[in-house]
């Protein structure tokens, strides 16, 4: 937990609902959601790549919509459902998106991957399955310097395609 000298600023206790669990955390008004998730809730799978809303490494779902958690204050997220990359896999079982990322070699260094998966998850959960061009457009806020994107687009398209053809998607051992 980040120690915050009391004389510096007024801080407040808030409840963040992350991956279905409530976390009581003490934040400053200026504390960023990504810092609260990483340092106070203790989930470091969400990364920081630019601190300025450009790279998308910090993408989480905020009430099921992708949001860049470096540009949301923690206090603004109170009352919302936050989902992070840690929510995807069940114990021992990869989410179909994660499995597709593995099948398609859709990650290299892995630093952008959490954000890609969460942007991908928002697409995966859409009622109307998006096509590859729509996926590409939906990913413009997520930068990757390793893959050239095509494997990521292919993985998301594959997971969505599998879901459309087999609603009860077979699961793999993690």
């Amino acid at each position: 937990m980040i120690p915050i000298p009391a004389e510096l600023s007024a801080y407040r206790d808030i409840t963040l609902t992350v991956n279905g669990r409530d976390h009581r955390v003490r934040v400053e008004p200026r504390t960023l959601l990504v810092d609260a998730i990483r340092d106070l809730v203790g989930l470091t799978g969400t990364h920081i790549g630019c601190d300025s809303t450009s790279c998308g490494a910090c993408t989480v779902l905020l009430d099921d919509r992708p949001a860049k958690s470096c540009t949301v204050l923690a206090v603004q997220a109170e009352g919302s459902r936050v989902r992070t990359v840690e929510s995807l896999a069940e114990p021992g079982v990869l989410h179909p998106l994660q499995r597709a990322f593995e099948d398609e070699f859709a990650f290299q260094c892995g630093y952008c991957t959490a954000g890609m998966l969460m942007s991908g998850l928002a697409l995966y959960e859409r009622d109307a399955p998006p096509g590859p061009d729509e996926i590409r457009r939906a990913l413009v806020g997520n930068l990757c310097r390793c893959t050239g994107y095509e494997p990521i687009v292919a993985a998301i398209a594959k997971a969505i395609g599998d879901r459309a053809s087999r609603p009860e998607d077979a699961e793999v051992r993690r």
């Binding site: 980040i2 120690p3 915050i4 000298p5 004389e7 510096l8 400053e28 200026r30 504390t31 810092d35 990483r38 989930l43 470091t44 799978g45 990364h47 920081i48 790549g49 630019c50 601190d51 300025s52 450009s54 790279c55 490494a57 992070t84 990359v85 840690e86 995807l88 896999a89 990869l94 994660q98 990322f101 593995e102 099948d103 070699f105 990650f107 290299q108 260094c109 892995g110 630093y111 952008c112 991957t113 996926i135 590409r136 457009r137 990913l139 413009v140 806020g141 997520n142 930068l143 990757c144 310097r145 390793c146 893959t147 050239g148 994107y149 095509e150 990521i152 687009v153 051992r173 993690r174």
Partner: protein, 809 residues
């Protein structure tokens, strides 16, 4: 679940990267995820000016802020730090033979007296948390006397230029000359001499994970542990040990946990890697510094910026007789981040894929008031490729020949490999005409030439570019941290599980998978039984890390030969147990079995893990002359490099020569100068493929990098030296929607100097799009009088070529 079936080899197959599954689950540990009890947080106060004398610097107010624990300036470091040791070259003295003459400045990691680029670290602030540390930056008091900045290498090299280092006689940090053949005669004999000045712009790799350092000092043990996002754990460790001034030499362990992309930006010894550990020693608590993106853009090395004054002597039929180049490289402030080694590479390889025996180049590396120039994927070769491939098109235009035909006439023929080039390197293998022929087919070159004519008649600007660029890999230099060897320790435990520790590192290349493939083949075991350790100086043999695609060349060779040697011991022990001749024992499917038998009985086969048990726990069953244990260290020395350079600067500096023939068709919007890629084809040869999907991913990712560099990415400076690209909003990298239609094909000429025949897959694609698209765009704008002599191919730069009345030059 991967299983080994019969005799199918693991190498050459696309094994999935299951060992890296943790990154899919948000569980991998990057340096920013390291959490230590009592950890403090550091920020750096950085220079706001390009060139200035510091007249006052006070941290008093910053230190008064509650929560601030420590502040350091250069004055505080002088008793703590000898000075930062240079990297990668280890000496200030000119090297023997034709090695370059270099100047290094004394440094302690924080600015002393002067600042020389915006973003240079001036003071360290350490506080209880990051927010407080950032607040404190605003309380640092500094006053400056502004000095005229040096912002251009060529004028900066002149006698009248302001001096960055006042005890130097000029700003030229490095001079290097190399030559081969008889250039004067070649030019005297020429029918035509083509001259051009070509400017490569400044861009960089910008990994999504910025740099970061966490340091912990254990006073009782006098030991530092430093986690850093670096490609070179061991070099950072040694440089740090040599740089810290203490009564008793401090022992240093460096850990590079998961590294979120390197691309050369994490190949260097950065000031933060010295100052943060010193901060941890003084604070008596662990200290963490994580770079912001803004800091990254200002303080992590840039690359590429060079000007070439090049002239080519030709016969009328397009045969190249000779080549001269005079190169000015804009080094920024000359920190030890690999720029010197990078720029020396350029003149070695300007001749590229062509048989140009009469060649000379003169290189000037000039210190300027910009961010330090360092390594970047493509390391000096991108600039060389831009130069030669622009010149090939220019020669074709001047002579009225087809650019493909001019290339075909001058390619090094396949039968000439291994080919010793004019600057001394031995090109391992290749089939340049074959790759170009395939490119012409895949691109539909002839068809597009016809369609181009039709389009021009309609006023549309269609351009076609074709190039073939080499990407010399696996570098070595005497007296430097990059030497041509690779060390691997391989150990099989009594249960048959194997741990492979190397002096390399992984920034996303998938070593834990590919090493398991190599080891599995040699030992005949399930790759799931192989674990890989890299990036921890306490647990790996000394090595120079990952760069220059060297894993593919020396790394795979070391892993293969180390495991082969261990396999020989396994086979000797098994032969003894089976009472067979060692030459008849094969390691397959986890068993040592006698060849020609079914291998299904205790008389004809023994499990490898049972052999391991004997080696450790039943040593009375070993052959009498055999030592216990199954562990060894192997040092592989690259057979295709030389030391040192001769009197003309020639040396075999790189050992492997992957290449790619790329072609592009573009359409330029005459109204806006916007470039649209209609087709892009890459015919790539990186030798054999260890893991084809990983190879493809490396090449595709590299191409995205090169496309970004060609089209959007650049670091620019205002006339006062203020950098104009401080965030991704101002430094545009390709997004998923920017990727053009790509056709990739591989041809394979194996590297004859390595056991696996691999050449290196990750860098060629970064090199090729820049000249390819530059040629295509010039082809599009040339009828309107446009020329592409500078990069990147932004709408503004291209539009200016269509409306040259507005051009500055």
């Amino acid at each position: 679940m991967t299983t080994v079936h019969d005799r199918t080899r693991l190498t050459g197959r696309s094994l999935p990267r299951t060992r890296d599954r943790e990154v899919l689950c948000g569980e991998g540990t990057y340096v920013g995820d390291v959490r230590l009890p009592g950890m403090l947080h550091a920020t750096f106060y950085r220079s706001p000016h390009a060139h200035a004398r510091i007249t006052r610097l006070s941290l008093a107010k910053a230190l008064d802020l509650p929560g601030v624990v420590l502040g350091l300036t250069a004055d505080d470091l002088r008793d703590r730090v000898h000075d930062m040791k240079p990297f990668p070259f280890q000496s200030r003295d000119p090297f023997r033979g034709g090695n370059p003459a270099i100047k290094f400045a004394d440094r302690v990691g924080l600015a002393q007296g002067k600042v020389r680029y915006v973003g240079e670290p001036v003071a360290l602030i350490v506080a209880e948390n990051r927010y407080v540390a950032e607040d404190a930056l605003e309380l640092v008091e500094a006053e400056y006397e502004l000095l005229a900045p040096v912002l251009d290498a060529e004028t900066g090299a002149g006698e009248d230029a302001p001096l960055l280092y006042e005890d130097w006689d000029d700003n030229v940090t490095l001079r290097f000359d190399v030559s081969g053949g008889d250039v004067d005669t070649a030019f005297a004999d020429a029918d035509v001499v083509v001259e051009r000045t070509l400017r490569h712009h400044r861009f960089s790799g910008t990994p999504i994970e910025p740099r970061g350092v966490v340091a912990r000092y254990d006073e009782a043990a006098n030991a530092l542990t430093v986690w850093t996002s670096s490609q070179i754990a061991h070099a950072v460790g040694v440089l740090l040990e040599n740089s810290i001034k203490a009564d008793k030499r401090v022992s240093v362990r460096v850990v590079t946990p998961r590294v979120g992309g390197g691309f050369g930006q994490k190949w260097g010894f950065y000031p933060e890697e010295l100052v943060v550990p010193v901060g941890a020693m003084l604070a008596g608590r662990p200290v963490r510094w994580i770079e912001t993106r803004r800091e990254h853009m200002l303080a992590t090395n840039h690359a590429r910026e060079q000007t070439h004054h090049v002239s080519m002597a030709l016969r009328r039929d397009g045969t190249i007789l000779g080549l001269r180049d005079r190169i000015y490289a804009d080094l920024g402030d000359a920190y030890p981040v690999g720029g010197l080694a990078s720029i020396v590479t350029t003149p070695m390889f300007v001749p590229g894929a062509y048989r140009i025996e009469n060649y000379e180049a003169h290189l000037f590396g000039v210190a300027t008031n910009k961010t330090p120039f360092g390594a970047h994927r493509g390391f000096g070769k991108s600039e060389a490729a831009f130069c030669i491939e622009r010149m090939m098109d220019e020669a074709a235009r001047v002579l009225g020949l087809d650019p493909v035909a001019v290339r075909m006439r001058n390619f090094i023929p396949p039968e000439d490999f291994p080919y010793v080039c004019a600057t001394g390197s031995r090109y391992d293998s290749g089939n340049y005409p074959g790759a170009m022929t395939r490119l012409v087919e895949l691109l539909d070159y002839e068809g597009w030439r016809e369609r181009q004519q039709a389009a021009r008649a309609e006023g549309r600007l269609i351009g076609i570019g074709t190039i073939l660029a080499i990407e010399p890999s696996s570098s070595t230099r005497m007296g430097s941290y990059n030497n041509g060897y690779y060390s691997v320790r391989v150990a099989m435990d009594p249960a048959g599980q194997v741990v492979v520790a190397t002096g390399g590192s992984d920034e996303g290349q998938g070593h834990s998978t590919t090493i398991a493939q190599l080891v599995g083949d040699e030992l005949g075991i399930d790759p799931e039984a192989v674990r890989v350790v890299e990036g921890d100086t306490d647990h790996t043999p000394y090595g120079s890390g990952s760069y220059s695609s060297r894993f593919s060349v020396v790394g795979t060779s070391a892993v293969t030969l180390a495991s082969r040697k261990l396999a020989e011991k396994v086979r000797r022990i098994a032969a003894h147990l089976l009472e067979a001749n060692v030459d008849d024992v094969d390691l397959v499917d986890g068993r040592a079995s006698v060849r020609g038998t079914a291998g299904d009985s205790p008389e004809t086969a023994v499990a490898v893990h049972d052999v391991a048990r004997v080696a450790y726990h039943r040593i009375h069953d070993l052959p009498p002359e055999e030592e216990p244990g199954l562990e060894l260290i192997y040092h592989y020395r690259d057979p295709n490099v030389d030391f040192p350079a001769d009197e003309r600067g020639r040396v075999a500096m790189f050992s492997s020569f992957p290449y790619s023939a790329d072609g592009a068709v573009v359409e330029v919007d005459p109204e806006t100068g916007q470039v649209k890629i209609l087709s892009y084809v890459s015919v790539h040869d990186c030798g054999n493929h260890l893991n084809p999907k990983i190879v493809e991913g490396q090449h595709l990712g590299a191409l995205a990098h090169g496309l970004g560099g060609a089209l959007f990415e650049q670091f620019t400076y205002a006339p006062d030296g203020q950098p104009l690209n401080r965030q991704f909003r101002e430094y545009l990298v390709p997004t998923a929607a920017d990727m053009p239609p790509l056709t990739l094909e591989h041809i394979i000429t194996p590297n004859p100097f390595t056991p696996g025949g691999y050449k290196g897959a990750g860098e060629t694609g970064t090199v090729t799009p820049v000249p390819c698209l530059a040629n295509a765009v010039e082809d599009a704008v040339r009828p309107a009088g446009g020329r592409i002599d500078r990069l990147p191919l932004t709408p503004r730069n291209v539009w200016t070529q269509l409306h040259r009345e507005h051009a500055n030059d």
